[in-house]
């Protein structure tokens, strides 16, 4: 199954949750926001949100800026 993660295409197993994706990519849950198809998924939903074919996932954090 294919997903787009931070603009790049990835092939993942079926029935993976947001939390699984974060763990797989070594991303801690602190200081990030997750969007699926431009909709914010709150942290409490990461476990239960199962990704679907062609989902677009964005993992966003704060960086330096003026």
């Amino acid at each position: 199954m294919n997903i787009i993660l931070n603009g790049k295409q990835f092939s993942i197993d079926k029935k993976m949750s947001i939390k699984d994706i974060l763990v797989q990519n070594n991303i801690g849950g602190k200081n990030i926001v997750v969007e699926v198809n431009k909709e914010i998924i709150s942290k409490s939903q990461w476990d239960q949100t199962i990704l679907k074919e062609n989902d677009q996932i964005e993992i966003i954090t704060a960086v330096g800026g003026g």
């Binding site: 931070n6 200081n31 966003i60 960086v63 003026g66």
Partner: protein, 271 residues
């Protein structure tokens, strides 16, 4: 006597304080967190500047990084500093609103710096999209500090739609050209009931002082500190520059004379 002194100190403190969205700040300097060599330098510059508010941008995380890799927010404590997320890199109201919603989720706060740019070359604000986004964000419950041009009428409109602060540029982002149109800034200040903060274009300490002498409520800058040879020293210089400018503004400068006027009394001279 002691009571009177305390009252005087309180009044002075109030005059010297900045209020944005009902929160009081002692420092009238807001700094950005971009372009520093590392997070440690960002933190040191922030401390040296005396600023209580710091802007951040929101971007995609790096994939495949070390789980223990430090994040900017590990260095800037949101309990100590007010984190002001910006919408840098947005060219439409739609994108800017999306970033603000992400910022609110990340920081659990409604305060945002709205910037909607017209194009990648000039980095000048897109006036129409900025106004559309500001209006919608206010309706969504955001407290909007808005980056804008030095267009006086637009500044009035942005205040009218409910922005908590209007932030006109001194000159284009990252140029360090200083204040290009002080008449427009003065006019914006004269017509405003919300804090006017010069944002972008400040190049060195004297630029910040001039902005404050014009009557700006605060100055927001990033590159002037981060791109100097010694960011920590420049951060400190900016702290004093903003204070000096504000004090001079409160003290009201002398009138400019076309002819020379001696400093000493004309009578009882030796010759």
């Amino acid at each position: 006597m002691i009571k009177l002194r305390l009252l005087q100190l309180w009044v002075v403190d109030k005059i010297m304080s900045l209020v944005i969205d009902k929160k009081t700040y002692k420092s009238r300097l807001i700094i950005g967190s971009g372009k520093y060599k590392n997070f440690e330098e960002t933190k040191k510059a922030l401390e040296a500047s005396g600023a209580e508010m710091i802007t951040v941008a929101l971007k995609r995380t790096n994939l495949g990084q070390n789980n223990n890799q430090k994040n900017l927010l590990d260095y800037i404590d949101p309990n100590t500093y007010k984190i002001l997320p910006n919408t840098a890199g947005c060219f439409s109201s739609e994108d800017a609103i999306r970033v603000c919603l992400i910022a609110r989720e990340l920081l659990n706060d409604n305060l945002v710096k709205l910037e909607v740019l017209a194009n990648k070359e000039t980095l000048l604000p897109n006036e129409k999209e900025t106004l559309v986004a500001a209006k919608e964000l206010v309706q969504l419950g955001f407290s909007v500090m808005v980056y804008t041009t030095d267009n006086v009428q637009l500044a009035i409109e942005l205040e009218k739609v409910g922005c908590v602060s209007v932030m006109p540029l001194a000159s284009p982002i990252g140029t360090g050209q200083g204040i290009k149109n002080s008449s427009n800034l003065k006019s914006i200040i004269k017509n405003a009931n919300v804090p006017i903060i010069v944002d972008a274009g400040i190049g060195t300490a004297s630029d910040a002082t001039i902005a404050m002498e014009l009557g700006c409520d605060a100055v927001l800058l990033n590159s002037a500190i981060a791109m100097s040879d010694n960011p920590i020293q420049m951060a400190e210089a900016m702290k004093y520059a903003v204070k000096a400018g504000r004090k001079a503004f409160n003290a009201k400068r002398m009138k400019i004379s076309d002819i020379a006027v001696p400093s000493s009394n004309k009578t009882d001279t030796l010759s």
